[in-house]
Structures are given as C-alpha cells and as structure tokens.
C-alpha cells in the first residue's frame, strides 16, 4: 500500500511542477499564435490527471504515513477540493486571461501554487508546512499582480509586504516550537509538549498565538486581515477567485494540522480555546458589520470572507473540547465542520468571483446599482450566483446549511454563547447577501434590458457546475462527506 500512495504523491508532484515549469519554457520557444492555447491545455490536462490520480487515495482504508507526511481522509478531501476548484477556475478564466500579456504566467502559476497546498494538506512536519507555505505564498503574490493594472499592483505589493511580516512571524513561531521540543515532526512535538513544565509551556503559548497571527493573516482573521479587502476587493475577480477559492485552503489545512497537536496537550487547551474564541468573535462581528455597508459587491464578498474566517475559528475552538455532542466528540464534529465548510466556501467563492469577472466583462462594473436587472441580462449566471449566496447564508438544504450546522453545533455543548453569536452573525450576514439577490431580481432599472449571456461562455458552464454541486451535495451527500472526513480516526 505504501508504494501506491508514494507513487501517487510523486506523480502528482511531477505533473504539477512539470506543467508549471514547462509552460513558460514553451512560451519562449513557440511562435505567437499557438503558445497561449497550449499553456492553457497543458495546465488543464495536468490538473485533470492529478485529480484522477488522487481519486485513488479515497479508497485507502487506513491512515498512511511516512516521515514527513500523513495521508488521512481530511487531507484527501481538501486536496480533491483544491484541485477541482483550481480546474474550474482555470477553465473559467480562459476567455478573460487570454487577452492578458501575462497569461502564460497565470497558467503556470496555478499548478505551482497548487503544489504547496497539496503538500501542506498532508504535512506532518513544520518544515514541510513552512516550505509549502512559502511556495504557495510567493505564487499567490504574483497571481494578485498579474493583470498589472494599478489596483492589482497596489494589492500585490501590500499582499507581499504583509505576507513577509506574517512569514517572519511564522518563522519565529517555528523557532520557538523547535527550541522547546528539539524536533520538527508534529507528532513528536505533540508527545514532547505533554511533558513540558510551566515555563516552557509559556513559550509554546506565545508560539501558538504567533501561528494564529501568521496563518490567520492569510484567511482574514481580525486584526491581521488588513490586506484582504484591498486585494480581494481591488484585484481582478478572476485572480481573486483563485486566491479565495484555492489559496484559502493553505492556512486552514496548516492550522488543522497544528491545532490538532496543540489541543491534545492538556496544559495548552485553555489557551487554544481562549485565542480561537476571542479571534472568532472579533472576526465574525467585524466582517459582517463592515460587509453591511459596502456598495461594491467585490468588497462585500471580501468582508464576507473575513466573516467566514470567524466561522472557521468556531470549528477550531471545538478542537479542544472533548465533551460529546449527539454522541460525537466535539473535536471530531469541529473537524468535520471545517472540512465541509471549506468545501462550501470554496465552491461558493470560486463561483461568485467567477460571476463577478463575468459581470465585469459583460457590464463593466460590479457595484450594487449596476447589477440591477441582472436576472434578465444574465439569467443563468444570476440564478446560479443566487444559489451560491443562499448556500453561504446557510439556507437548507444547500451544503452551506450542513457545514454551518456542524460548525456551530460543535461548540454548543461547552460554549453556547459562541454558538449564539455565530448564529446571530449568520443572521446579520443574510442582510447583505440578500441585497445582492434583491438587486439582481427585484430592483428595476429604467434602461432597456439586453440579453448578454451566451451558454458557450466557460463562465456560464462553471456557474452551472458550481450551483448544481451546491444543490446535489446539500441534498444528502454532505453528511456522508463529513462522516468520511474523520472515519479513519
């Protein structure tokens, strides 16, 4: 069995890094006319192959591990989701990115950034976490600035400078952790931490906070979110689709790995709960309240990302709770919730940012006023986007309902207050999501309506796929995915 999983991993690495490196190479060699299409094709084929290869991992019956890696169901699920989402974005981006001078870089950076996410999902070693982190981070800074207009460059610069700060913070955290434990393997660290005395535990606590800051920076935890509205709200939506829909997995996967080690140490549990609890509440409230007053949809979705970071932290809080809910330990429930909500979130954000890109291409503006009558101008896209928004709201029976249910339920036994706040926030968020739907369908513009949608546009196809997935997964499959995530523990 070991051979198989190492083979799969090696082949995937080869596919991703191979396509990532060869695309720019081909770009230099081939003549103008062919090269752009070719880069797109190579990238797409490698992603499809990688997806198919990794499907095999689903059938493994045990947790597979080697020195620096651990292949469990959680990792498999999110890796699949990441590759799938990257594929969708790649397909959808072709009509927009084709005209960019940097299109080749875009096609090559997608598999390269994906590689970091791939390894961080299976990482059992802080050095592996760090290298994967660096790989994807640097790739994502470039992706943010690919379009080279003023907003993109500004966003990319801010993103990279803030990213450096967070990387330094993470290095400090790793140094502290290594200093007290003397090893880089996470499971070894977990064993050593249980034996540490009061003084050294304090260092670990500080390292934990630094991890939260540096990882939280990437998925928008308040107050480390500052770059996020500028990048998610200013950069071209098709780039943001990748940042929000794929790169977001990076910090969450890393945090799952780290926190499941930390929260198993009795002396650290209170710290884990305290910090995730505090950050969760602050982040949820900040994101939702600020999103309420945005008039640009892209910025609104940027703040909604921050709000969702808060929801994820609710699930992370449950990691340190052992009391069972409905017969399942809260920590298991929290992990299931995070995995499921990650899928909800990826599907929805990918689809929505692709929609924005499409709107931008067809109409030219993405504020609330310009999307009036969108239900008639782009009927399929509007309908699919509405489903995704409803899923983000948590409307049953869409997948968002199940994931929010699991997340909020996981802390209900020990911290009903947190559940209440999260539910209230979820209620607040309805207000701004519904405004988008209202403007698309129920607010009339006096200008004549023109039907602009073409069924052949790749964006439309992707929107149909995402909304169908949202519905199908919601109609009964979601609980099975959740159960699968932790079935090997």
């Amino acid at each position: 069995m070991h051979l198989k999983f190492e083979l799969i991993l090696n082949l995937t690495t080869l596919l991703l890094i191979g396509s990532g490196v060869t695309i720019p190479l081909i770009d230099q060699l081939l003549i103008e006319r062919k090269r752009k299409q070719l880069g797109y094709l190579i990238s797409m084929i490698s992603l499809i192959l990688a997806l198919l290869l990794n499907v095999l991992l689903i059938f493994s019956k045990e947790i597979l591990s080697s020195e620096m890696l651990i292949v469990d169901n959680f990792g498999t699920i999110i890796v699949m989701a990441a590759i799938f989402s990257a594929l969708l974005i790649l397909i959808a981006s072709v009509s927009e990115v084709r005209s960019w001078s940097t299109s080749t870089s875009y096609y090559s950076l997608i598999p390269i950034a994906l590689l970091g996410i791939y390894y961080i999902s299976f990482a059992d070693d802080i050095l592996l976490i760090f290298t994967s982190w660096m790989l994807t981070s640097v790739a994502s800074y470039v992706i943010a600035g690919l379009r080279k207009d003023e907003n993109s460059v500004e966003g990319a610069i801010k993103y990279s400078i803030m990213g450096m700060l967070s990387t330094i913070t993470m290095l400090y955290a790793i140094a502290l952790l290594y200093g007290v434990s003397g090893t880089t393997n996470l499971h070894e660290i977990g064993k050593i931490l249980k034996l540490l005395d009061e003084e050294k535990i304090l260092l670990v606590k500080i390292s934990l906070i630094m991890f939260i800051a540096s990882l939280g920076f990437k998925f928008g935890v308040f107050p480390f979110h500052t770059w996020l509205p500028d990048v998610y709200g200013g950069v071209h939506p098709i780039c943001v689709a990748y940042l929000a829909g794929v790169v977001e997995i990076l910090p969450i996967a890393a945090f799952v790995r780290l926190l499941s080690i930390f929260s198993a140490v009795p002396t650290l549990q209170n710290t884990c709960i305290f910090s995730t609890f505090m950050f969760s509440i602050l982040t949820m409230i900040f994101g939702n309240i600020v999103a309420l007053v945005q008039s640009n949809i892209q910025r609104m979705l940027a703040y909604s990302t921050i709000a969702h970071a808060g929801y994820f932290l609710v699930g992370f809080t449950a990691f340190s709770i052992t009391r069972p809910i409905l017969g399942i330990p809260a920590s298991i429930l929290g992990l299931q919730g995070i995995a499921l909500h990650l899928i909800t979130y990826i599907i929805a954000k990918t689809g929505l940012f692709i929609t924005l890109s499409y709107i931008l291409r067809k109409i030219g503006s993405v504020d609330l006023i310009s999307i009036r009558n969108l239900g008639k101008i782009l009927p399929i896209t509007s309908f699919s986007a509405s489903i995704l928004l409803l899923s983000l709201m948590g409307v049953p029976p869409l997948i968002g309902f199940w994931s929010k249910l699991l997340l909020f339920l996981s802390v209900a036994g020990e911290y009903p207050l947190l559940t209440l706040i999260a539910a209230l926030n979820s209620g607040i968020s309805v207000a701004y999501y519904i405004v988008i739907i209202k403007n698309m369908y129920f607010t009339q513009n006096s200008t004549a309506v023109q039907h602009l949608e073409r069924i052949k546009d790749p964006e439309v196809i992707i929107m149909i796929i995402t909304s169908l997935l949202t519905i199908i997964l919601g109609l009964g499959i979601a609980p099975y995915i959740a159960a699968y995530t932790t079935s090997l523990k």
């Binding site: 610069i157 801010k158 400078i161 803030m162 700060l165 967070s166 913070t169 304090l202 606590k205 500080i206 906070i209 630094m210 939260i212 800051a213 920076f217 308040f222 107050p223 480390f224 500052t226 770059w227 509205p229 500028d230 209170n270 710290t271 305290f274 910090s275 505090m278 950050f279 600020v290 007053v293 945005q294 008039s295």
Partner: protein, 707 residues
Amino acid sequence: MLIDPIYIWAAPYIGAALSLILSKISKRVRNYIAVLSLLFSSIFATITLHEFIIGGKPIHTSHLWIKSLNITFGVYIDGLSSFTAFLVSWLCFFIGFYSLKYMNEDPGLTRYWFFFTFFAGSMLTLVTADNILFMFIGWEGTGLCSYALIGHWFTDEEERCVGDPDRKALGISMLFTPSHSGVRALVFTRLGDVGFITGIAIIYLVLKTFSIPEIIENAPEWIIYLAKLGLLLPALIIFSLGALAKSAQFPFHEWLVTAMTGPTSVSALIHAATMVNAGVYFMLRFSPATYFSLHRIHDEILLHMIKDDITIFFTIIATIGAFTAIFMASQAIVARELKLILAFSTASQLGYMFLAIGAAGLCPEFINGWLASFNHLMSQAVFKASLFMAAGAIIHAVESRFIDDMGGLIHYMKITFISMLLAAFSLSGVPLFQGFWSKDSVLEAAAESGKLWLLVLGTLTAAFTSFYSLRLILRVFTGLKSEKVKHLEHIHHIHEAHPIMLIPYLILAIVAFIVGLIWPIYGPEINSNIIKHVLGIEEHYIIHEIHLNPLLTAASITMVAIGFGSSLYIYKVLKINIIFILKRNSVARFIHNLLYDRYYINPIYYKVLVNGFRGISLLIFKWFDKLVIDSLYHKVIPLTFTKLFNVLFKHFEVPVMDEGYNVRTVNGILKFSAFIRKLQSGILNNYLITFIMGLALMTTLLIILMV
C-alpha cells in the same frame, strides 16, 4: 374555576396583534376588534372577581416559563389584584369605547389601537402577575405604551403641545411638543425603574425567587438580611423609586404634566386612571409585608433596629405624598389649560394615596390607612377618567386647550356639564360623593399617624382641590362667552358631544355619585372583600361600619366650603380680571408666575441636569480624543437609534415620517461607512501596525490572564 384568569391580560394582547393584522383588511373591523378584546378582558375580570368573592380563597395559577431560573408566569388573584383588575379592565373598555369616536379619522389609528390594547394587556399583567419579573415586564410595557401614546401626534403641531407658545421660565421654553414630552416621560420613569430592577435583583439574591407570594411570605428573611448589613432603609427607598416615578411623585412629577400632549383618551386612561396608579398599587402590594414582618421577628435588638428603619421609610413616603398633594394642587389653581388642571389634580390625588399608605405604616391600625389608599385609588380612577373624557369632548368642541377660550358652554353642552359637575364634586370631596368617603379616610389615617404636618398638608390640599375644581367648572361652563366661542358660533353651532363619547363619561360620573350614596351601606362589605387574603395581611378583618371622625369630617367639609366659597366669590361675585391684577400688583405677579411656571422646577432640571451634562460632555469633548467621542456621539449612537426606531416604528409610521426615517437611516449608514472607510485607510504602514499591535495585544492578554 370557570376560566383561567390569564385571559384577563391575554385578551388585550391578542386584540393588539389582531388589530395590527386586521388593519390591512378593514379599518372599521380593526377598531371594533380592539374594543371587543377590551370588553372580553373586562368580562373575564368580572368573572374572576365574582369567583374570588364566592370562593373566598386566593386564585393562583402558574405555568413554568424559564426552567433554569425557576420563573413561572402565572396569575395571583387576591382582594387587591381582583378589584384592581376589575377596575382597570372596565376603565380600559369605557375609554376604548370613547376613543372610537374621539380618535375618529386619525391617520395613525393602527398605531393608536395597537398601543392602546397593548397597554391594557401590560397593565393587567402588572396587576395580576404572580412573580415580580413578570410584574416588571408589564410595568415596562405600560411605560413603553405611555411613551408611544404621549408622542402619538409626533408631527408636533402647536395645538397638540402643552404650555404657552412664547413663554419662557429662566430662559427655558415652557412649550412642550408631543415628541419631546414622550421622551421626558420615558426618562423620568426610567430613572425610577433602575431602582425597581435593583430591588428585584437584591431580593432575588437573598431569596433566590421571583415569586411574589414567596417574597411576601419570606419578607422577614430579606428584611433581616438587609438590616444586618445596615442597608434596609436605602434598599426600601430604592425599591420604591420605581413606584414614586411611575406615580409622578415629587421630584419625578414633571413628566406627568407634559404627558398631556397625548390624545385626551390616553390622558384619561394612562395618565389619570390606570398607569399612574401602578406606583400606588406597587406600594399596596408590598407595604403590608414590610409592616407585618415586624410581628414575625423575634430578635429584640434586631427588631428595634428594623422598626426604626421601617418607621423612617413610611414617614418619608407619607411626607413625599403629602408634599406632592399640596404642591401640585397649588399649581392647578393658576393653570390655564383644561387638561393641565386635571393633570396637576391627578398628581395631587396620587399624593393623597401615598400619604395614606405611608401613614398606614405609622398608625396603630395599618389596615385603615391601607384601605384608605386603595379606596382613594378606586374613586380617583373613576371620577378622573370621567373628568378627562369630558374635557376631551370640550376641547374638541371649542378647538382650544385654554380655558380662556371657553366660558358659557352650559348653553351648549348640558349633559357634559352635569357629568363634569358630578365628577368635580367627587374630586372635591363634597359629602356623600365617592371622593368624600375615600378622602376622609385618607385624612383620618393622616390624623392617626401622629404626625401633625401630614394632617395639616392633607387638609389644606382639600381646600385647594375644591377651589380649582369649582374654578374649572365656573370658567368653562358659566360666565361670559369668550371671543373664541362667539367666533365658533358663527362658523358652526357648538353642540353636545356624540353619544359614543358622551355615554362613557356620563356613566362614570353617575357611578361616582351612586357609589358615594350607597357607600355607608355597602362600603363595609366591599372593604371586607378587598382585604380578604391580601398577600401579607394574614389576619382576617371584617369591617363593620364606615368610620367617621366627627371633628375631622367637620374640618374637611369646612375646607371644601372655603374652597368653593372663595372660588365662587372670586369668579362669580368679584368677577376679577386676573390679568388686570397681575399688571398692578408685583407680589401677586410673583406668586402667579411661581405657580404658573411650576415652581421653576422644570427650568432648574434643564439648567442643572441637562445643561450640566452638556457642559461636562463639552469639556470631555475638548480634552479627549476627538475621534472616539465623535464617532460614538455622532455615528454609533445615532445609527443605533435610527436603526432601533426604524425597526420599532416601521409598521406604524405614516408615509411622511417614514420618509424622514429612511433619509435619516441612509444618512446614518453613509456616516458609518465613512467611518469604516477611515479604518480601511489603504495605507500600508497602518496595516503593519495593526498586525503587530494585534499580535502584541493578544500575547499580552495571554500572559496577563494566564490562560
């Protein structure tokens, strides 16, 4: 049990909900449903009263509400609550019936009926509640409705205001608009409610229960607990603050005066007959427990200490009552607005009730003072409701709230004159009217208390009361017709009120008269039923006869005669022109202005409290970070309030105001988003600082909290 007494208050609440829903279907149906729900409530209250008297034991039903805190919602029917519920529900019905015509064609009727019925439900909840938390919910509900109904005509036309348009006292305008008055009422009563809720918390801490029967049963326990801490007197006073504020006793009296900006039907119901009596009801409910717990404490030293504290407490209550009685009555003498005279009179009569309940604690026979207070509550409610409704009809006919614009109305409104005369006689305490008996027993309690000043103030107030009562009748109905009346005569004929309005106040006036006539016969029996099984009163009293102290009765009748006589002499014989005197005599002018401007209490409040706070906040504004204060005062608070009001009034507002709120909300959101934009500055340095500060703050928190 024929019927669960919970329906007494449930019926109006259901009516409130239905009137909201049905307003979309038919306006007529909405009005009738609201009044019908009040009628049902009165029928239930009557049945319950009947069952209580027949059954002879308290009716207690309860349903579990919040399990973890052991809070139930239920109904406790003893003599006190059954009679009060009976009175309140029928008054609600009568005044609701009256408003069918009085509020005819008002654009805000849906709002009016909703709050009217909601008020009835809240008031009856307050009266019948078996736990103090539920009582408080009713208490707050009445306050909310009072606020909403005082400001019913929030468009603030001048004719809806209280006070003279151009008059200023100490530089502060004495004209009060409805919306302003509503806020005043809310603020003044909330001040007291803070005390009430503190009291609830204290009692819960000691007894771990909210149940009123248990609180009263275990009164010695919390009294001893507080006495040992030396906090008994402060706690009792704090607990009573809510009652004092609700019943507009000095120094909280100002709100009731300006509450007259509401529709007259509302003044009749809330600000004369029911809600303002809630404070008295509260005292009636809890004072027996305080007083009789003295008999149940056996520790000598402790008993001595507690007795001192309780005596001081009752003396304070009685003194506040007596002072308010004469203080407010004196202002009624010069008031120029018909409703304002009645408002002063209401506060003054409430003072009588507080005087009686306070004196009860000082008398050898507690029960006499207690009964006096309750009897006066009942008679005041009846005749004052009648007076207010009649005043509403008159104001409606003359189209002015000033009595200077009336005069000679006896030619047009004979029946109104008769009913108002009957009610005014009852108010003045003319022998054989209902008010006579109750006022006499109040004075008797004052005499028995052994505090001379209570008796003197009480008796003097009687003279003042009869003076302003007769002055009102004389100035409104007799004498020369005013310019306004003459003018109106030319336009259209001034005529008697519509029967729907006329009947309720005529009935109440006749009730006040007839009950007075039969009181010597049936009074003892009624009083025996009232004190039967009242919480905290354990002994079984049977009242055999209505007791009259000849000397006291003579004194009180003399006072009425003096009041009537001087009023007649001044307005019928001398026919004095007040303005002429005021121009000539500076002393008279000073006194008149002092009374007319309500002893300058209002300007003093505004100068000292409002301006004082303004000064302090200006100072803070100068020195503190402008951003923090600025955002709080100009962004966060207005936004919160506009939001709150928007939600509250969304369904009730007429389009004009709707637009105003919408504009305001939009502005609020725009300002808020500007504030947010300031946060998201786009400056990278700020981002870096935020990141580092967040990290540092969290680490510090971690180390400090040692988690």
